[in-house]
Amino acid sequence: MNPISNRQAIVKSEDPQLVQKAIADGSKTEVPVLNGDPKLKVSSLNFYYGSNQALYEINLEIPARKTTAFIGPSGCGKSTFLRTFNRMNETLRHTRMEGEVLLDGENILAMEVSQLRLRVGMVFQKSNPFPKSIFDNVAYGPKVNGTTRRSDLQNVVETSLKRAALWDEVKDQLHQSALELSGGQQQRLCIARAMAVNPEVLLLDEPCSALDPIATAKIEELLFQIRDSCTLVIVTHNMQQAARVADFTGFFLLGKMIEYDTTKTIFERPKVQATEDYITGRFG
């Protein structure tokens, strides 16, 4: 089940010839045709950290209420790409973005950033509960966005924790510190916190990379439950995870999107040699 183990990396991702070939092959593949309008549409996206270019000419459409995964070796730009959707990269100095990202046809750069982040939520690689109570963590988003009535907040907290499958475990300790929860519970709390503002899109940046298999399974199960109401975009190192949860998968290499297709196609009949090499564990 694990294609990475016991295989020698015969191709390094730094190999320029491989990348050139992968890009040449990738340009021949077709972006899958979606039914209906895309939730997110990315056109000729380039991204720079200072003078270093991190993303090159990315074009793709992310369908609504589906799960889309991005895979690729470390440092390939998939997290940077994910963070363009809620303009989180703007919090870093000396970064620059070119190109266009549309949310429901509307340019995200033209939107007020806090409004955008209400519609596009995010869960991070390392769980980051605030040093506050469980209740205050989940209520944080609604609170800073203007919900003040206690009963409203209580409803939101209960609903969100139920959606994140955490309610039964924490309902008797809502006012205890969130930092007392286990790692897996903390990550589900962060998902509940993100869900509390009812985002249309939820970005997940390697949400399970610090968790054990049981906690990972719980999170994946949770993703299955919320996928009908929310467009999920997940970045993962774990290819089995992409195969399990995603409808569509994109493969990144050195800042370029090599191939993007249905998950089934990517894993069973990839069109580009580099995708196949990565998936079968020949480099990574």
Binding site: F124, Y140, V144
Partner: protein, 270 residues
């Protein structure tokens, strides 16, 4: 090497224990209820207390806190959260210089600024002098504890649609508050013992000094005056006052450490 370092370690704590023991034995035995409630006795009489100096120190330190803490805190927030790197390091350098200004120079500065203008010594001038002395450390401790708040918490707040100032007020400052408060308390404990700036500003007083515009007694200055005096009873009073001042500083220090420790144990579970 081991013996050299060990001896020096021992020496450094021996000094503390010597001072502590001396004040406890010599000063503690002269403590009485009168010390806290009575005014200083007239020259020639024994007994009396330092109630006015205790209250005066409290007033001066309160004013110093009201000046030094808000300015240092807000400037620290600016440096940690908003300032660009070059500007912040320039400010940091300047505040380090301010911190290094001898306290007597600070006294003369406030003397020129306030005492000469108002034509009298006052608790107000004393509070301003100590308040200015508190700013650099208030600023640096605020900045350092805010910088220690992990980036992940800032991103978490902003990803929920919180504007930057809101994430600072609702997440970042609360996460750092135990450290900031303890930094402020240590800062207060440090200026509580300052004598030189008060000589030029609050001066002293043998009587009660209501309001903020009169020369005001304070514990450090009383210790200075009484310890230099020619009467054995004054020396005893000075020792008792030294004991009280040291005890106050100790209590503040220990409380600050407790606050930090409780904050740390919360964070270690992150």
């Amino acid at each position: 090497m081991l013996s050299a370092t060990g001896v020096c370690t021992l020496l450094s704590i021996v000094v503390l224990f010597f001072i502590l023991g001396f004040l406890l034995i010599q000063g503690g035995k002269f403590l009485s209820w009168n010390f806290f409630t009575k005014l200083p006795a007239p020259v020639g009489e024994t007994g009396g207390g330092m109630a006015n100096a205790i209250v005066g120190s409290g007033k001066i330190l309160l004013l110093a806190t009201c000046i030094g803490v808000p300015i240092g805190f807000l400037a620290g927030v600016y440096l940690a959260e908003y300032g660009n790197a070059a500007f912040s390091s320039a400010i940091r350098f300047v505040t380090d210089l301010l911190n290094g200004v001898p306290s007597i120079v600070m006294g003369i500065f406030v003397y020129t600024l306030i005492v000469l203008k108002t034509k009298h010594f006052s608790a107000f001038a004393g509070g301003v002098a100590l308040g200015i002395m508190m700013i650099p450390i208030a600023l640096r401790s605020t900045e350092e504890f805010l910088r220690a708040v992990p980036l992940s918490l800032r991103e978490g707040a902003m990803a929920l649609g919180a504007a930057k100032w809101k994430s600072i007020v609702t997440v970042i400052i609360p996460a750092a508050i135990s450290g900031i408060i303890s930094g402020m308390m240590l800062n207060l404990a440090r200026v509580a013992g300052e004598t030189a700036p008060l000589m030029f500003t609050a001066l002293s007083n043998q009587f009660w000094s209501p309001g903020w515009n009169q020369p005001t007694a304070s514990l450090p200055l009383m210790i200075y005056t009484y310890a230099m005096g020619p009467y054995p009873d004054w020396h005893r009073q000075a020792l008792a006052a030294g004991f009280i001042l040291l005890a106050m500083v100790f209590i503040v220090n220990i409380t600050a450490r407790f606050i930090v420790a409780s904050g740390m144990s919360q964070k270690s579970r992150l």
